[in-house]
Symmetry: C2
Subunit: 246 residues, 2 copies
C-alpha cells in the first residue's frame, strides 16, 4: 500500500468518526488502517478536533487510559441549536397547521430525515452524561426522531407497540390512559415492569400548560404556548434550555 | 479568518458531504465557506473522491453544468455489501429465532441504527437511477430501515398507518388483506389512489417461496429459504443481486 498522506487520512477519519457518533475508536484502529505512527494519528485527530470546532460540525474528544481513544459527538453549538429550533418553530407556527382537536400537523417535519437528525443531535445533548442503555419510543410518529437520538447516543432504539404482534415474540402488555402525557406515564410504567430506571424523557413539542406534567423532568425541544383556532395556528417556540446549551 | 489549510478543508468537506447523502453541493458552497479558489476546492474534492474509493467509504461524483457540483452517495463496494448481509444472514439463521407461526425475530436488528444504516445504504443502491420522490413504509417494524434508505436517497419518508389518527389530519383509507405480500399489495393500491407510480419495492427479508409474489419486482436484501421448527431456526441468505452489485 502506498503511504497514505495526511490529507487522505483526515478525509477518511472524518467520515469514519462522524458516521458512528458516541463510539470510542482506539488510536490503534487508525494506526493499523493507515500504517501510521501513534503520534501521527494523534496529530491528525487534533487537526480534526480543531476543524470541527471551527466549522460547528460537532465535537471530537480524546479519552485517556487503557480503553482510551477518540469519540465523536454531533453536539451543535448553542447558536446552531437555536437557529435550527427557531426555524422549525416558525414553520410550526404557520397558519393552517392546527387540526381539529387542537392537534398540530407535524408530519412534514418528522418525515424529513435531515430535520430528524438535527433534532436528534440537540436532544441527545441532554443525555450524554447519563449514558443511557437504550432509547424507548412509542410507535409511530416519534420513531424517526427517537431513532436519530439513539443513533447520536450510540444505543439501540426500543419501540413500544400499541398491540403485540406474533412476529415480535413474547410481550409484556400494560394498560394506560391515552393522550400525550398519559402515553408518557404508560411508558414509565412499562419500564417499571422491567426494573429499568428512566434517566430522562425527551419530546419534540410540549404544551406550555399544565406546567406540572404527569411525568417529571420532560425535556422538550419546543413548547406550544397558545392556539389561534381562527387562523388555525399555534405559537411554538424553542424551549428555554436551548438558549443555555454549552 | 485565518487561511484554511487543505487538511482542514478536507476534514470539514468530508463531514459535510457525508452527513447529507445524495445532495448536490455547488463548488461555490465550499469556495465561500473557505475563501478558497474553485480550482483549489476542485482539487480537494478529487483527493476526497480517491480517499473514499480507497477505503470503501462511499462515492463522490462530480456533476457538470450550471447546476453542477458534487454529490456524495453512501454506496458500499460489492465486497462490503456481501460481508454486511452475510454477517446479518448468519445472525438471523441462529437457532431460537423462529417464533410461533414461522415468524423470524428481527427486533434486535431493526433497533440497531448502525445496521439499519448499512441496510439502507445497500437498498438505496437499487434506486439512485430511478430518482424516487419519497420512500413509503407501513408502520412499524420497517420504519428504521425505510428511514435510513430515505436518508441515503435524500427524500422524505412517508409512513402509512393502520388507522388514521386525529393528529395526522385528513387521510385516505383503504382495505387490504393482511400478511406480508398482502400489505405490499395494499401499499401499491394506496399509491394508485394518489396516481403515484411505484418505481420499486424493497424489503429486508423475503421468503423464497412463492417465487411469483403478489407484487412484482420486489428487491429483498435477504431471502429466507427454509425453516427448521425443531431448532427454531430458518435459513437466511443474502439475495442473489447483492453478489452482482457494481
Amino acid at each position: 500500500m502506498d503511504r497514505i498522506k495526511r490529507n487522505e487520512r483526515l478525509a477518511a477519519i472524518s467520515r469514519i468518526l462522524t458516521a458512528s457518533p458516541n463510539r470510542i475508536y482506539t488510536l490503534s484502529h487508525f494506526t493499523e488502517m493507515f500504517g501510521a505512527a501513534k503520534s501521527t494519528v494523534s496529530e491528525d485527530l487534533s487537526i480534526l478536533a480543531d476543524t470541527f470546532a471551527q466549522f460547528d460540525l460537532g465535537r471530537l474528544t480524546t479519552v485517556a487510559g487503557a480503553a482510551g481513544g477518540v469519540i465523536y459527538r454531533a453536539i451543535p453549538s448553542r447558536a446552531k441549536a437555536i437557529a435550527t429550533l427557531e426555524a422549525l418553530s416558525e414553520k410550526l407556527s404557520q397558519p393552517g397547521r392546527l387540526l381539529p382537536g387542537d392537534f398540530l400537523y407535524t408530519n412534514d417535519i418528522t418525515c424529513d430525515s435531515d430535520l430528524c437528525e438535527l433534532m436528534g443531535e440537540i436532544l441527545a445533548c441532554r443525555y450524554y452524561d447519563k449514558a443511557p442503555d437504550f432509547v424507548l419510543t412509542m410507535e409511530t410518529k416519534g420513531i424517526p426522531v427517537a431513532m436519530m437520538t439513539a443513533r447520536m447516543l450510540n444505543v439501540p432504539l426500543v419501540i413500544a407497540r400499541r398491540d403485540s404482534k406474533a412476529y415480535e415474540g413474547s410481550a409484556v402488555k400494560i394498560n394506560y390512559i391515552s393522550g400525550d402525557t398519559g402515553t408518557l406515564r404508560g411508558m414509565h410504567d412499562l419500564m417499571k415492569e422491567f426494573d429499568v430506571e428512566v434517566i430522562g424523557t425527551g419530546v419534540v413539542i410540549a404544551t406550555a400548560e399544565p406546567r406540572k406534567k404527569r411525568v417529571d423532568g420532560v425535556t422538550a425541544l419546543m413548547v406550544l404556548s397558545q392556539v389561534n383556532r381562527e387562523e388555525g395556528s399555534a405559537v411554538v417556540k424553542p424551549s428555554d434550555w436551548v438558549y443555555e446549551i454549552n
